[in-house]
Amino acid sequence: MHSSRRVARKVEELKPSGIRRFFDLVIGRDDVISLGVGEPDFPVPWKIREEMIYSLEKGYTSYTSNSGLPELREGIAEYYRRFSLETSANRIIITTGASEAIDLAIRAIIDSGDRVILPEPCYVSYRPLVSLCGGEVISIPTNPEFKLTSEAIRKYADEKTKAIILNYPANPTGVSYRKKELEEIADSVIEHDLLVISDEIYAELTYDFKHVAIGSLNGMEDRVITINGFSKAFSMTGLRVGYIIAPEDILNGILKIHQYCMLCAPITSQIGAIEALKCLDEVEKARAEYLRRRNYVFKKLSEFLEIKKPEGTFYAFPNISLTNMGSEEFAEKLLFGKKVAVVPGNAFGECGEGYVRLAFAVKFEKLKEALDRMEEFVHGKG
């Protein structure tokens, strides 16, 4: 053994998450309003919890098939029609959260040296997972509109480029794509013979138009790996249940990795997920509440910062550069000065510098209070 290097080089080279440091600053302080929480503040609907408790009483504690419970896979195939995608249970694998799904999708298609287009700022885990596969990230900075365009794809894609990772509605920016915009992206994807990993975890939280799965578009059937899960729509974050919808050949590859590394998603969570698909009225209630907060946050932040209107998710991503502070400095001073926690934008890629992410997954009154404090902070009071 080369004793000087116990941890693999690939892992050593990964950057630690930029959020960790802030987490340590806030932990144990209940005087801080945290707008850093990227998970719903609604409890998991009781019917879902009840179903899981009952399943444990009945003794449902075994492995499921690698692909997941058939009833759940069938339910998802039916459910995804609401996003215009026609698929079937045999194209679906249940995963341990959408996070595992992202890892599987990347590992199944990326060889060493392959290039992956990543529109930034974006969710924190795509880049490290591509690196671990020996892939190379081609970062496309998308500010200030935060949208990937077909022009950008044409400009950056080369013969080594294998895939695009698209997340919409997007964490951290809140932007999403209308069908027409997706069709333009699809054209350039087909032109360059690319695959798309489409992370649609926030699909239910789309406000201004209908979410359309990019995999449903003409010519995209065999090019898209669709990822979703139960964390954001049904608040089932800690229960860790997500899924992948993919073309047959890719799904077979994904299944191989999944059966060796995870075997199956937790059965209790899968049973909860079956019930979740019968609780869509609860999702609608939550969406209505987020929409109200979105409207408020956008209106309020526009009064003192530059912000693009979030079209989905529970995130807003205002530009803070008029304060002449960097993202981290802003977040830190806001935390110490006004006791409001936000996430510095550079945690989501270099081009996120000059922005902060705030999550409106908190009760309305707290949200209001936090934004008032933020306004005072920006105006230099206190």
Binding site: S17, I19, F22, F23, V26, I27, V32, S34, G36, V37, G38, E39, D41, P43, Y123, V124, S125, N171, T237, A288, R292, N295, Y296, A341, V343, A347, A359
Partner: protein
């Protein structure tokens, strides 16, 4: 003619859950201006769609002892006296909190609110049981209420989320 507009239906759902939502919030949620909402509420009050605004009080919190009892009533009907007549007679007592015609063994379910066990028991004995059509009463005193009008009366679950989640 439609009795309520689409947005008024939404408005009623919101008010049913919380009658004290402010006009500004109603306007935000419904995407309708405040004047229109005010007019609608007035109209709904006038035509009896909105009956009354009440407050759900957890009297246990202030050790104020009210006694609630659920009375199952069996009645005998005649040509002169039907369910409606009997129900109206019972409903007019201020002590009576609710009157419902129900299926099953009993004919009516009546909820009585009183100051003490004795109060309620005497009220039932003197005012309800003595109504000629009442054949039988079974009184269930309420020992504790866990949910009232869709509102749970026990503490919410605490927020266990981490302060930062990417």
């Amino acid at each position: 003619m439609r009795i309520v507009e689409e947005f008024e239906f939404e408005l009623l759902k919101i008010l049913e859950d919380n009658a004290r939502v402010e006009y500004e919030e109603l306007s935000e949620r419904l995407g309708t201006d405040i004047e229109t909402i005010k007019k609608s509420i007035k109209k709904l009050e006038e035509n009896g769609v909105i009956l009354k605004y009440k407050t759900i009080v957890n009297w246990d919190k202030i050790q104020e002892d009210y006694v609630y009892a659920i009375i199952n009533l069996k009645v005998s009907l005649s040509r002169e006296k039907g369910y409606d007549d009997i129900a109206k007679r019972i409903a007019k007592f201020p002590e009576v909190h609710a009157v419902r015609l129900v299926s099953g063994e009993a004919d009516f379910q009546v909820v009585i609110k009183g100051r003490s066990l004795k109060d309620v028991a005497f009220f039932v004995a003197e005012k309800i049981s003595t109504i000629p059509e009442v054949r039988d009463t079974i009184t269930h005193f309420v020992l504790r209420t866990y949910k009232e009008e869709g509102v749970t009366l026990f503490a919410d679950e605490e927020d266990r989320r981490l302060a930062f989640v990417p």
